[in-house]
């Protein structure tokens, strides 16, 4: 499933048995929503933790300091960007 026409520089996100190709934009939250993956959001600054997902495989980096509590496998999507292909789970 491709959510953007431009495939150069895309990454693949595995979610619930499906694969989504996306071009990383300013935040993983925005990218996942563009693919139709439902992720709720709140402060968009990594404080409230509402946008957390579980990262099964892959690497991300943060644009800001994650202030909400996250366990080792969790990611605050509002301030994260994908670095590699990802496999994720949501609540």
């Amino acid at each position: 499933m491709t959510c953007k026409k431009e495939l150069q520089g895309t990454i693949t996100v595995k979610y619930k048995g499906k694969e989504y190709n996306l071009v990383p934009s300013t935040s993983l939250l925005q990218d996942l929503r563009a693919c139709g993956i439902p992720v709720p959001s709140g402060c968009l600054q990594g404080i409230c933790g509402v946008c957390k997902i579980t990262l099964i495989k892959g690497e991300i980096h943060y644009n800001g300091i994650p202030l909400a509590y996250v366990s080792d496998q969790e990611v605050l999507t509002c301030i994260a960007r994908a670095r590699t292909d990802l496999e994720i789970e949501t609540d």
Binding site: P40, S41, C43, L44, Q45, C48, G49, L67, Y69, D91
Partner: protein, 378 residues
């Protein structure tokens, strides 16, 4: 008899300081931190500093007068509940937690936290003054309101127990004491138990109770009324998310044994059933409150059922973060419009923003000369 006498400056050379019930505080230094996140959260709180006078409430007064009696009652009851919550939070963390704190970064966080809560209380006074000709009447009614009084008792009971136990332990030492007609065994273990349950009570307050009240205010703004109140509430909501995050971090540091206090960690795991009950009681009370405030009618876009669904959503998310599970799995955000009000970058208040009028006081001369001939006439 074992006791822990509080000292405002007890010199020792420990580089690692547990958050609570270690050595008493000494040098307020932030070059080394046992838990860096607490210092980061303090810095973030300070960077968010704001004052309610920055928000223009003149349109709210006009809106409020034009509202139906049902909506006026919902707005005011919700505001009274918020006033009660912040009255507690403006003092209780200082009184209950500070005497037990050992790390300077946590001490600084708690002082800043309570200070910000007093800003929130000042905001409510600013709002009430703007809306009512006799603001004192509204404040006088708060403690007489049975539904609010019941919630106040629930919010403060755990704080009061901890304060009592802490005072007994620091002044008299271990022993059996009578509190509110019940015998309380006071020792280091029971003090740690009470502290952990207090942290869970605060977490439920910050992560659920406050958030429920915020959406009620935002719902008015969504209907294009009470925008000034909504702007203030967005700033308060931003602060409260920091406070909820801090107690979540504290509880996880303890639960995961990252504070070099094995007894505290074991106690936190023992307390999980009681902590679960604290959250369940809070959720039940908030749903009862939703039923009460909407008993005569709803706000377009927010009714009792939607608010209860939102409470389930908040409960599922927040309980999961502190080692608890909520039986109702509610993962979809049923009030998606709330996201707009919670976006932190939407609440920045720079002096040049239009709603900021305080900095212009007395600076603009509105007198115009009919025969103004140019700069030479000045």
């Amino acid at each position: 008899m074992t006791k822990r006498e509080y000292s405002t400056f007890s010199s020792h050379n420990d580089t690692y300081r547990p958050m609570f019930l270690g050595p008493c505080v000494d040098v307020a230094r932030y070059d080394q931190q046992s838990h860096e996140i607490l210092e980061t959260l303090t810095e973030t709180q300070l960077s968010f500093f704001w004052r309610p006078q920055e928000i223009n409430m003149s349109h709210d007064r006009i809106n409020f007068r034009a509202m139906s009696e049902v909506h006026k009652e919902i707005f005011v009851n919700n505001l009274k509940y918020q006033i009660m919550l912040d009255s507690v939070q403006g003092r209780a963390p200082n009184v209950a937690l500070l005497p037990l704190v050992s790390s300077p970064e946590l001490e600084s966080f708690i002082i800043t936290w309570s200070f910000m809560e007093t800003i929130h209380s000042r905001s409510y006074t600013h709002m009430i003054r703007s809306l009512f000709d006799s603001p004192s009447e509204i404040f006088d009614q708060i403690t007489l309101h049975p539904e609010i009084a019941a919630r106040a008792a629930s919010v403060t009971k755990q704080y009061d127990e901890l304060i009592f136990m802490s005072q007994c332990y620091t002044s008299q030492g271990e022993g059996t004491y009578t509190w509110q007609g019940e015998e309380l065994e006071v020792n280091l273990r029971s003090l740690k138990r009470s502290l952990i349950l207090t942290l869970y009570t605060i977490n439920a307050l910050e992560a659920i109770r406050f958030q429920v009240s915020f959406v009620c205010t935002f719902a008015f703004s969504e209907n294009k009324v009470m925008d000034g109140s909504s702007k203030i509430m967005r700033l308060i909501a931003r602060d409260e998310s920091i406070h909820a995050s801090a107690t979540t971090h504290m509880l996880n540091i303890i639960l995961q044994g990252k504070d070099q206090d094995e007894e505290m960690t074991a106690m936190a795991h023992e307390c999980l059933p009681q902590a679960h009950q604290i959250f369940m009681d809070c959720i039940e009370q908030e749903k009862a409150w939703a039923k009460y405030i909407f008993r005569n009618g709803a706000i377009p876009g927010l009714n009792e059922r939607q608010l209860c669904d939102y409470i389930d959503f908040l409960a599922y998310k927040s309980m999961k973060q502190v080692g608890l599970s909520y039986p109702i799995i509610k993962t979809d955000h049923c009030l998606t419009w709330v996201e707009y009000y919670l976006k932190s970058y939407n609440v920045q208040v720079a002096p040049q923003e239009t709603e900021v009028s305080s900095y212009l006081s007395g600076q603009v001369n509105t007198q115009m000369q009919r025969n103004f001939g140019g700069l030479d006439d000045l």
